[in-house]
Symmetry: C2
Subunit: 636 residues, 2 copies
């Protein structure tokens, strides 16, 4: 069923300004600053054995959870991001740091292969007793992803071997065999990590363990739900579960077997990581049932439960989903990690079917909520991504649970991996923005040099240079938001007809061929489904893939009062000196006057409105000039 | 400073249909059904001594609080409501029940006068150790109000004597004297109860204790904050206070002395009860500082922190206030008790100054949020009063903390007490709706027969019958919402000029004089201050004092989608058979069609709109035909 393959980021060179700047920031500032934070916060310290972490470095959350439960995952994620940095350019300091971490992890690994710093240091007797809540497998997954990335970056397999021993331990402990526990992760993530390990090594045991976790999940066929068994074994009351109210085990998508799931529920990051693994396994096993579940969940997520900014999971209570069309703006949670995970899921759906809806979604999440998660200076973050702020919401320099920080750095450091897809005789261009790659196709190799200033400018040039004339299909994504796309081949206009969102040009390609695309980037309006009550009577602005917002910094009238007339023309304006260079949207707008409201809370008529100009910036750039009021959904 | 006096409800006879129906429902159904619920829920059981309450009758709330802490107050409130019923008409069964309760309370009272069933039964050693959280004085206050009401109703003072002993114990325990604790209630209420006891008995010790509580509150002048002292004495960490985050002790308005308070903060019911007592004491002591504080707090509450329905306190977290203009509709808390307490406060402000703004507020809270708290059948309740519902919000048959249920029944049973005010030579008519009273004025007595179908109809007739011709001023409230009010005296038109909201007619009145008022009741629109972001672009409907809402029951289009054009005419329509007879508002409206939204969450244009008719019902009547979607603030 896998008809397409992703092209690894290491085979693609980012040449465009937009991503070059983000990439350099992450490589030069973010990754090293994160290392510093890991050390300051005791996370890095926590994997130094035998010295146990002094209790003071283990802050407790109101829930009583110890942050430490998660911290191995942050080490794994940082190593992964650092490995991507090494793939871009050698850096002895970073490499030495990773090696030192691997030394510590090697020392921390138990004789039986078990490797979890929290349990080993503090509750060795309790390992594998609370998969539902305590993240052992989640940590293992992120460490494994780090090991795979470091192996790709350096060719050295010491860390991967450590993690293989750990995976062997897990595979021996969990399964349907005699004396095994039929458990699976409470926080999914290890599944997709195992598939990456399979792709890196070809060892099917990794894929088989992922398959077991996905197949067993939510299974109550002849067995008691695993999380219930486990709670009883701990002497805990299974019904006394913090998230029971919202549907027992829906929080971790373990309420029913995954193939029966049609609604996206529970913790959004757990959900998205799991869906990504499901898409992987649908391809690996040519599993139509799993693919159908992915498609049903995709439809539900994108048609009923998604913010216009590509954010998922409105509620802080469960860090996740609530009900259809419930998308509050001022209290939006929309965790950065959930959108990063959506990028993973969308990329895997593109390997099942070359369908523009997946690339459109990937682009939306990537350019809006994911990028919003990282500040221009590369050292400040959003964990939750609100769509409206009274000015009190600000970025973090770090977070007690820093999952999002390294999720965005590893994503940006590997963003080149989302530009291209390929099959036997086809190359698909999913994203634009300046990316060069040499890819295998039709028995040979072809170099694509895509140059553009996308998403600031919609003109794209692609020079196609095969190692000899050969026939293949070049499939160019025409975004769904795009009206009036034009294309030419060697100067000759090409009619833009699309198959599932892609313009397909099949011919004998030879060196010197040039395709040009014009994807008109004009400011436009977006309206929400009328059942999204919080957006009723409101309009959002977009230009190309970028959703915009009004920040107080750029507006005279209070942004939460701005009213954009239905017929107001939208003008884009280049602002090369603002926030590293961007494109603003201006529009004539109105705002109600204060005067008549003195000493009145309710009146029988509105106050007169003042004419003003609304200026909007791309959402991902908001809150880079200090906290201030912001609004995505403007009154119309 | 007290220039005006309230007229006790027992001196006023309700003759109008609107209130007669509510009154009969409360007297004939609500009070007896509440007695049954008190018994079923173990609240009535809980004051039977020596038998301790079986633990099973003490449900625990998630907070860990034991509901039992509050339950004496519910007995007190029920006795108060029952006493009002007895004032309306003798009822041997109710009287016998009250006497039996008094027997139990007499038995529960300790030798030193202490009377709290929870502490006496379960933690006698802990009495008076946690005023901040545990409601001992709140319970005492409600029992005292019940005792005063029962004394007025029957002339028998046994209960009042029991409560006087308790108050003597409290006065001996708390104060600034040698060996006394300088404490005050964590949940205010006893202050206004004590003033009622003072008015009933003339005994200044009641007023003096109330004065001490108000004066000492929030005092840190030379002493540590009492709640902090108390926490330390319990061995608790004062900083570990659930509401510390929102400003230490703001939750119970004890953060600073009351005379320095200018913002309404914290728990809304605590706040409103306290402000009512402050207004009482300002009058009792001719205390300009206290009056100024009341006026500042009034301004803040009504100009920045009030729902259009006269509800207060948007947040469930603290059952109270948050920040200016933060008035979410779908999550509105707006506890019924807070609006009942606002009625108390407003009535007391009217005694300080005859100013229509106080009567307007009293009427708004009374006719909207307070009345919404009680169902048409008299046996179902709202604790929180949302202004928008997706259909999931429904009424309670009872509540684990039933404070609101008997607050609304005691209010309706005594509503006649809010119609009139009087001074030496003036009678003020605050409310209309059919109420007859004989009042002392200018050395004699005058009978006023006000007849009207208000608020259904705005035509009011007042027959004035003095016991002999005598000069006095008849002051008729002209509501601020009213445009084009007309008046006549004995058929001759009277120019409607108002002093602070009242039309004042001073003359020698004699039997047969008739004043007629016409207060045009036309449907109108209300808009919220532009900083109330949740209401931006929205409109509310009103007719006279009644705020309206669209319920799904009466509308074809989904009410949360209804859009009311700015120029749509509003028509009122009598519906004599609906919900006991009411007046509806109809208007041509539009609602976005579904079709184009199939499989779309966001689109670049709105869908076409269907023409429809919007029908709105008075807000207080909503959810009397089963739970269903409802909206007060409609899209315009």
């Amino acid at each position: 069923m896998r008809t397409y393959h992703s092209v690894p980021f290491s085979d693609v060179t980012i040449t465009g300004d937009f991503w070059r700047e983000r990439l350099d920031t992450v490589l030069e500032k973010t990754i090293l600053s994160q290392l510093k934070k890991l050390e300051e916060s005791g996370i890095r310290g926590s994997i130094k054995l035998p010295k146990p972490v002094p209790p003071l470095t283990i802050p407790r959350q109101p829930s009583g959870f110890t942050v430490q439960y998660f911290w191995d995952s942050d080490i794994g994620k940082w190593i992964e991001a650092a490995a991507y940095a090494l793939s871009h350019r050698h850096d002895a300091a970073i490499e030495a740091e990773v090696e030192a971490m691997i030394d510590d992890l090697e020392a921390a690994q138990q004789p039986d292969g078990y490797l979890n710093c929290f349990y080993t240091e503090r509750e060795p007797e309790n390992r594998w007793t609370n998969l539902r809540d305590n993240h052992e497998m989640y940590n293992a997954g992120h460490l494994l992803e780090g090991a795979v990335a470091y192996y790709h970056a350096t060719g050295r397999d010491r860390f991967l071997t450590i993690m293989e021993r750990y995976m062997d331990h897990i595979a021996a402990t969990f399964g349907r065999g005699e004396g095994q526990k039929r458990g699976y992760p409470g926080h999914q993530e290890i599944e997709l990590a195992l598939i990456r390990a399979f792709h890196a090594t070809g060892k099917e045991k990794f894929r088989d363990l992922a398959t077991y976790f996905i197949d067993e999940r939510g299974n109550t066929d002849g067995v008691e739900h695993y999380f219930t068994q486990e709670a009883k074994a701990r002497g805990a009351d299974p019904a006394k579960y913090h998230f029971a109210a919202s549907g027992m085990y829906e929080y971790s998508q373990a309420h029913i077997p995954v193939r029966q799931q049609t609604k996206v529920v529970g913790h959004a990051v757990r959900a998205m990581y799991m869906y990504a693994a499901m898409a992987d396994l649908a391809a690996e096993h040519d599993d139509a049932g799993l693919k159908a579940a992915c498609e049903a969940l995709w439809k539900d997520a994108t048609e009923k439960r998604m913010y216009v900014t590509g954010g998922f999971g409105p509620s802080a209570h469960n860090e996740g989903f609530t009900k259809d069309y419930d998308l509050p703006n001022d209290t939006a949670y929309a965790e950065t990690c959930a959108s990063v995970a959506m990028v993973f899921w969308a990329a895997r759906m593109l390997n099942l079917d070359l369908d523009g809806q997946y690339a459109d979604m990937l682009e939306l999440a990537l350019y809006n909520t994911c990028l919003a998660g990282l500040s221009c200076d590369g050292t400040h973050y959003f964990y939750d991504n609100k769509l409206e702020s009274d000015g009190s919401h600000d970025r973090w320099a770090w977070h007690m649970c820093p999952c999002c920080t390294m999720n965005v750095s590893r994503l940006v450091a590997s963003v080149a991996g989302y530009f291209y897809g390929r099959s036997e005789d086809e190359i698909a261009v999913h994203l634009y923005g300046g990316a060069t790659a040499t890819l295998p196709v039709a028995g040979g190799r072809v170099t694509l040099e895509e140059t553009s200033d996308y998403p600031r400018d919609g003109r794209v040039r692609i020079a196609v240079t095969p190692d000899g004339a050969r026939p293949f299909t070049l499939s160019l994504r025409i975004p769904a938001w795009c009206d009036g796309a034009a294309a030419s081949l060697n100067g000759e206009a090409v009619e833009v007809t699309t198959e599932r969102g892609y313009l397909k040009i099949r011919r004998d390609w030879s060196a010197g061929d040039v395709v040009e695309l014009d994807l008109p980037l004009v400011p436009g309006r977006l309206y929400a489904h009328p059942d999204v009550t919080r957006d009723a009577g409101r309009v959002a602005l977009r230009r190309g893939p970028l959703v915009y917002c009004a920040e107080q910094h750029d507006n005279d009238a209070p942004v939460l009062r701005l009213r954009l007339p239905e017929d107001a023309p939208l003008t884009d304006r280049r602002a090369p000196d603002l926030l590293g260079g961007t494109v603003l949207i201006d529009a004539p707008a109105r705002a109600e006057e204060d005067g008549p409201w003195a000493h009145a809370l309710y009146r029988s008529r509105r106050a007169p409105e003042t004419e003003t100009t609304l200026t909007a910036v791309p959402y991902y750039l908001w809150c880079n000039r200090g906290a201030n009021p912001m609004q995505v959904w403007l009154l119309e």
